[in-house]
C-alpha cells in the first residue's frame, strides 16, 4: 500500500478546496472500493480527504414531494428510510440487492455513484487495461471472462460495466446529482453523470478533479406510478448483476402508458437508460405485443462479446417480465424484499424481521 496522508474535512467547501489543490488527492467516503484499490495498486492517491463528517447525511423532503439525499447517507440507512421505502421502493430494493450488509453499512450514496468497475483486468495491475493505464489495451475484449462485461455502448477501448445497483434505480427515477466544485455548484442529470467509455475509458463520470457530490435529488413520484427493481444473478446474494432492470410505469385512467422510464444495469459502462424501449411502450396500453417490442428494442443496439451473448436474451427476458408485472400489478406499495432469498441478509437497522 502506497503511503498516503489522511485529513478529515470540516465542511464541503473545505473538502473541495483540499482536493482541488492537490492532483493526487481523492475524497474518501465509506472506502469500500477505494481502499481495496489502494491495496491492489489500482489507485495510488497520496492524500485522502475524508468527507464522511461534513454534514451531508440527511434525507429530507423537498417542496413539491421530492426527496434530497445527502451524499454521505449510508446505503443501509437510505434503503430503510421511510421516505424512500414509501415513495421510491425501486431504489430501496436496488440498494438492498447490492453488496452485503456490512458493505451497505459503510458505503455512502456519493461513493456508490463513484465506485469503479469490477472488471477483473482493471483490478489486476499485471494485465493491460485502458481504464487503469490508458493506451495499454483492453484485455477484456478478447478475454475468456466476459460474463460481467458490457453488451451496450462499449468501445474498442473498453467493455467494462458500472457495478452499481443504486445508480440504475436512480436513473429510472430521473434523479439529479448535486455537485460542488472549485467553480461553484452544478446539477447533473443522473443519466449524464456517468460516461460511455469511448476513447477515454479512464474517465467514468463527467466530474472534474475536485468536484464533490453533495446530494442526489429525486423528483416527486407520479401519483399512480408503479416501480420496481429486479436484479438477475447466479448467486442468490452478494453478487453483481448480470442484468438488472429498474422501471417506473405510470398508466392513465384508461390503462394507457402516460409515462415510462427504464434503466438497465450490468450491461454498459453506465446505468443504461433504455429510451428505445420506453418509446416502444408509449402510445397505448402495455399489452403483450408492446412489451415484446420494448424488450426487443432495449437490446437492438447490443454488441455482445464472445462469452456474454446470453445477456442479450437475459435483458429481453428480464425486461419483459418486469414490464408484465408492472402492467398487471397494483399501484406501487412500499418496498419489500423482491426475493425471499434476500430477506435474511437484508435486515437493516430499525427494520426487524
Amino acid at each position: 500500500m502506497i503511503p498516503f496522508d489522511y485529513q478529515r474535512a470540516e465542511d464541503a467547501a473545505g473538502a473541495v478546496a483540499a482536493v482541488a489543490a492537490d492532483p493526487d488527492a481523492r475524497f474518501l467516503g465509506g472506502g469500500t472500493n477505494l481502499v481495496d484499490h489502494m491495496k491492489l495498486g489500482v489507485a495510488a492517491p497520496h492524500r485522502l480527504v475524508d468527507v464522511t463528517r461534513i454534514g451531508l447525511d440527511d434525507v429530507a423532503e423537498l417542496p413539491g414531494g421530492g426527496v434530497r439525499i445527502g451524499a454521505g447517507v449510508r446505503n443501509s440507512d437510505l434503503a430503510a428510510h421511510p421516505l424512500v421505502r414509501g415513495r421510491y421502493p425501486a431504489l430501496s430494493r436496488a440498494l438492498l440487492s447490492g453488496a452485503s450488509g456490512q458493505l451497505r453499512n459503510a458505503a455512502t450514496t456519493g461513493g456508490n455513484l463513484m465506485q469503479r468497475t469490477r472488471c477483473v483486468y482493471f483490478e489486476d495491475v499485471t494485465t493491460p487495461c485502458n481504464k487503469r493505464a490508458p493506451g495499454t489495451g483492453c484485455s477484456a475484449l478478447e478475454g475468456p471472462f466476459t460474463r460481467y462485461h458490457a453488451i451496450l455502448g462499449a468501445s474498442e477501448h473498453c467493455a467494462a460495466t458500472h457495478p452499481s445497483d443504486m445508480a440504475v434505480a436512480l436513473n429510472a427515477l430521473d434523479a439529479e446529482v448535486r455537485v460542488l466544485g472549485p467553480g461553484g455548484e452544478r446539477t447533473i442529470p443522473l443519466d449524464e453523470f456517468h460516461r460511455l467509455p469511448g476513447d477515454a475509458p479512464d474517465r467514468d463520470t463527467v466530474l472534474e478533479h475536485g468536484e464533490l457530490i453533495t446530494a442526489v435529488e429525486l423528483p416527486a413520484p407520479a401519483g399512480a406510478a408503479r416501480s420496481t427493481y429486479r436484479k438477475v444473478r447466479d448467486r442468490a446474494s452478494y453478487a453483481f448483476a448480470l442484468v438488472s432492470v429498474a422501471a417506473v410505469l405510470d398508466l392513465d385512467g384508461g390503462g394507457a402508458v402516460r409515462d415510462v422510464r427504464i434503466a438497465l444495469g450490468g450491461v454498459a459502462h453506465k446505468p443504461w437508460r433504455a429510451r428505445a424501449a420506453e418509446d416502444a411502450l408509449r402510445g397505448g396500453a402495455p399489452g403483450e405485443e408492446r412489451i415484446a417490442a420494448a424488450a426487443t428494442a432495449a437490446v437492438a443496439a447490443a454488441r455482445p462479446l464472445p462469452g456474454n451473448a446470453f445477456k442479450v436474451d437475459l435483458v429481453r427476458a428480464t425486461l419483459g417480465s418486469v414490464l408484465r408485472e408492472l402492467a398487471a400489478g397494483p399501484a406501487q406499495e412500499p418496498a419489500e424484499p423482491a426475493d425471499p432469498a434476500d430477506s435474511t441478509e437484508n435486515a437493516v437497522e430499525g427494520e426487524g424481521r
Partner: protein, 707 residues
Amino acid sequence: MTETTADLLNAKAMGADLERVDGLAKVTGQAPYAFEQHAFDERAHAPLYIHPVQSTIAKGRVTAVHGERAAALPGVAAVLSHENAPRLTPEDDSDVAMIQTSDDRELLVLQSDEVSYRGQIVAAVVADTPETAREAARLVGVDYAAEPHDAAFSPDSADLPEPTVDTELGDVAAAMAAAAVTVDAAYSTPIQHNNPMEPHATTVVRSGGALTVFEGTQAVHIVRRILAALFSLDAERVQVIGPYVGGGFGAKGSVHAPLVLACLAATVLEGRPVKIALTRRQMFELVGYRPPTVQRVRLGADAEGRISAVGNDVTTHTSRLKRFVENAGGSAAMMYAGENRSIGHRVAELDISPATFMRAPGHAPGMFALEVAMDELAEACGLDPIELRVRNEPGTDPVSGLPYSSRGLLDCLSEGASRFGWEGRDPRPGVREEDGWLVGTGVAASTFPAFTMPGSAARIRFAGEGRYEVSIGAADIGTGSWTALTQIAADALSVPVEDVALALGDSALPAATVAGGSAGTSSWGTAIVQAARAFVDSHGTEPAAGAELTTVLKRPPDTRGYSTHAFGAQFAEVRVRADTGEVRVPRVLGVFAAGRIINPRTARSQLIGGMTMGVSMALHEESVIDPRFGHVVNHDFASYHVAANADIGDVQAYWVEEHDPHVNPMGAKGIGEIGITGTAAAIVNAAHHATGVRVRALPMTLDHFLR
C-alpha cells in the same frame, strides 16, 4: 478370505453426541491459529512480515532483480531473490514419503532464475509491518527474458499425450455397439480452488540451528520431514505446531511455496519471528487447486437397464512444473456392474501453477459425470433412476473381483427416497411450475474409498487418578479430530471421555499421517487403539501413575481381501426461474453408509459441509485461466463465487447403520469427503427434471436455461 481385524471395541464414548472439546476455545478466541501464534516473546523479538513478489510472465527467466528501492524503505529487513536466498537441499526421499518428496519442484523457492508459471515467487520482502512489506514488494523491479508459454487447455487438441490405460476389461466399443440403450456424452468440470477460510499462514523462527514453525497444516509431521530435508536439519531440530487449522480441503495437505519462503526468510533473519499470511489472491496462485476435467462417459445397457459397458475417457491438465492428475475416472471403475470397462486419462501439460488435492480428489468430478450419465441412461431406459442403480448393484468389485467389506448404497437410496419423498415422483421433465419457477427433483449416488494409512504412532500415559494422556501428532482442520479421537481413546482405554486428555497438532508428539484421503480418523484412531491395547497389556488396567507407552502402527488393518468404500445417496430439489434461468436449490438430502459414526455432531457437520460445497460446485465455482497471461483472472471472491448463505436452503444429512468389522478396529469409514461427491449430479439431474434441459458442464449457471 482374510481374517477379521476389528472387534469394534466396546463402544460407550463412540457414537455419543459429544460437543467439540475445542469448541469453547474457538468461539471465545482462545484457540490461536498459525498467524496469531507467538514465537518467543514477541515484545522482545518483534515479528517481521513477508510479502512475495510474483512473476508476471508464465515462462522464461529472471534476468535481474532490482531490490534497491525496496531495501531503502524504512522498516525493510531483507529483500530476497534467487541471487541471495539460502540454498535448499532437496532429496529424493520417495522411500519415506507418503504424499510429497522434498525434491518436489514446487518447493524449490528462489533456487534458480527459472520461471515456470505466472504468479511464481521470484522475490520477497521482509519488513516490520505487513503494509511496509507489501509496499516494498511493489517497489521491487524484476526483469525477465520471457519465452512462449502454453496455458490454454484444449481438450480436443490432437497434440495431447497418449492417454493412460487405467482399466481395460472386455471390449467397450463392441459392447456399446451391441447395447440396446446407450449414453455417450462429454461432461466437464472447471478448475476449482480449495479456498479454506483461513489462508495459508506461517509463523516461524530459526534460532540456534533449530526451526520452530507454527503452520496451518493438515500434517505437522509431513511438514517437519520436508523442511528438515530442504534445510539440512535433523528432524529433531524442526518442530511444527498446528493445533488449530481454519480449513484445508486438501490445499494444506502438502507443503507449498509460501511456507518454504517463510523458512528461507527466517534463515536469513535468524532469531527473528517471521510471519506470512497469504492474500486471497495469492490463494489462487500458490497453494494448488482442482484441475479441470472433460469426461467422455459411455454407458451401454440392455433394454432392462442392465449395464454391459462403462467407459470414462478423461482429459485434464497438469502443471509442467509438478505433475498432478485428477483421477476422475476412478468412480466409473468401481461404482456399477458391467463386464466391459475402459478408463483412461489424457493429461495436457501446461505452463501453469501446480495443482493439488481438493476435497474428494477424482471422485468429486468423477461422480458428477458418472451420475449425470446414469440419469440420462435411466431416462433412455424409461426407468426410475433409483431402480436403474438397483439393477446395476455389483455383487463384487467390478475390477478387482473382491467382495465389499460393506456396501450400503441400496440402503441409502431406499432410506433417502423415503425421507425425501421420492415415491410417486412424476418422471416427466419440465411440467411443474410454481409462481414462475420450474421445479424438479433429482438423485445421485456418492462414494469415497475407506482406507487406513500406515505410519501413525500414539503415546498413552497414565497421569494418575484415573486420567490418561493420549498424544498423537495428528491434525484437526475443523473436522472434529480433537473430539473424535478423544472418544476413540476413551473406549480403547475403557474410561469415560472426561478421563482422557488428548494432545495433537504438534510434531513433538508421536508421528501421524495426513488429515487427508478421508483416512485421518481411521489411521490415527487405529494407532490409538493399538497403543491402548499395548498399554493395557504392559501395565494392566490399574497402572502406576506415570506409566507410559508408545507404539507405531506399522501395518494398517489387513483389508486386502475386500473392496472398502463408503457410499451414499443424495437427493435435491431445484427451482429454475422460467424467465431468467436463475437456479435455486431449496433442498438437499443425503443418506450415507460409512460404518460406525464416531460422533454424530461432528459427522453431520462434515457431511452437510461437503454437501454445501457440492452445491457451490454445482452452481458457482469456476476458476478461469486467461491463456494469454497464464493465470486465473477471477482470483478473488467478487468474481470466484462460492455459495452464499442465501444459496443454501435445507441441507439434511443422515446415515444408515452399517456394521463393518473389516475396515479398522472402530468399524468407521472416513466422512470428510464423501459429502461433496454426487451433490452436483443430483442438482443437475433435478434441474433437468425441472426444465428438460440437460446440463453437462459445470457450473450450472443461468445461461444454460435461457431460450
